[in-house]
């Protein structure tokens, strides 16, 4: 197995972890407030905080 294959496998594993932890499992829907310097600035769905490319694409297509 050459180095490229090893690197590719590692990248795939990281993507797999992020895909699972961001998009799968028990889903609690709701909104949160992001505060900066004790001032509530943004009110948004938790889904939007950190998202995989796949989820962003889905959200984007849902907006059209």
């Amino acid at each position: 197995m050459n180095e490229n294959v090893i690197d590719r496998s590692r990248d795939i594993t990281i993507l797999e972890v992020l895909d699972r932890v961001l998009n799968k499992g028990v889903i609690l829907t709701g909104d949160i407030v992001i505060s900066v310097a004790d001032i509530d600035l943004i009110y948004l769905g938790v889904k939007l905080m950190l998202s995989s490319v796949e989820t962003m694409e889905k959200l984007k297509s849902g907006m059209h």
């Binding site: 797999e16 932890v21 499992g25 028990v26 609690l28 829907t29 709701g30 949160i32």
Partner: protein, 251 residues
């Protein structure tokens, strides 16, 4: 201040063991873990300042690490990253209100682990190996071309038909590989999910939920598949906590 929920565990198994394991671990921002229990199920949570919630990949990876570690000792349902509730009482109400569904899911994943199987190939090479000649004319396309007396039209239709045939041919090959994989896994009593043609290179993206003790056999079966399909590249990932086999959405 809020409560970040990591996972929901079948607590009746080993309540003391859970406390012992959690006492040796820390969550995101070095927070200590707390247990919120209701009717034999426990949510593993930690206090979190909303301003301190770091929405970065590193936090998501830490979060996944906690779930993975706990999954080695307990039957659990991973909770999606970023799930925050205000108080312990809110969490208890959530557990109580969804008690039956949570128990049903815990029963489904008990003693099991998830594996991902991705199959990659060079689709261009595969298409040329399928031996479909570009520009192969069909009767209907020729007739339509003659009717319109338009070679541009005929070329366009032929090009599209060839592309369609190639796609169909590749899909038929992918289906045959899926059938083979399904046959190989028949003895595993596995729950399986297949996605086809996720990208031009990733022709199959499969997920399996199998008994923990079948792990070594699964690896051996995938190695056999790799030997048999030398033009394909099989990548097996896992064992994972059962992220893809949990089916609960709580509002």
């Amino acid at each position: 201040m809020g409560k970040l929920i990591y996972t929901i565990i079948k607590a009746s198994e080993e309540p003391r063991q859970l406390t012992r394991v959690l006492s040796g671990m820390h969550g995101i921002s070095n927070a200590e873990f707390l247990e919120v229990s209701c009717e034999g199920i426990t949510a593993v949570v930690c206090d979190i300042q909303k301003t301190g919630m770091v929405a970065g990949h590193a936090s998501a990876m830490d979060y996944a690490g906690v779930i993975e570690k706990l999954s080695k000792d307990f039957t659990l349902l991973p909770v999606r990253f970023g799930s925050i509730m205000e108080t312990d009482d809110d969490i208890r109400k959530m557990l109580s209100g969804n008690h039956l569904e949570i128990k049903k899911n815990l029963l489904k994943v008990e003693g099991k682990v998830e594996f991902g199987l991705k199959v990659f190939c060079d689709t261009e090479k595969l298409k040329s190996a399928r031996n479909i000649e570009p520009g192969m004319k069909t009767k209907s396309a020729t007739e339509a071309g003659a009717l319109h007396n338009n070679s541009v039209y005929l070329d366009y239709v032929n090009k599209k038909l060839t592309e369609y045939r190639l796609e169909e041919s590749v899909l038929s090959y992918v289906n045959s590989v899926i059938e083979e994989i399904t046959d190989c896994f028949a003895g595993f009593e596995a729950s399986g999910k297949f996605n086809k043609m996720v990208s031009p290179a990733n022709i199959i993206d499969a997920l399996f939920l199998i008994k923990k003790e079948m792990t070594a056999e699964l690896i051996s079966v995938v190695q056999d598949l790799q030997t048999r399909y030398s033009d394909l590249n099989f990548i097996l990932t896992g064992p994972w906590p059962p992220y893809n086999f949990v089916d609960i959405t709580i509002s």
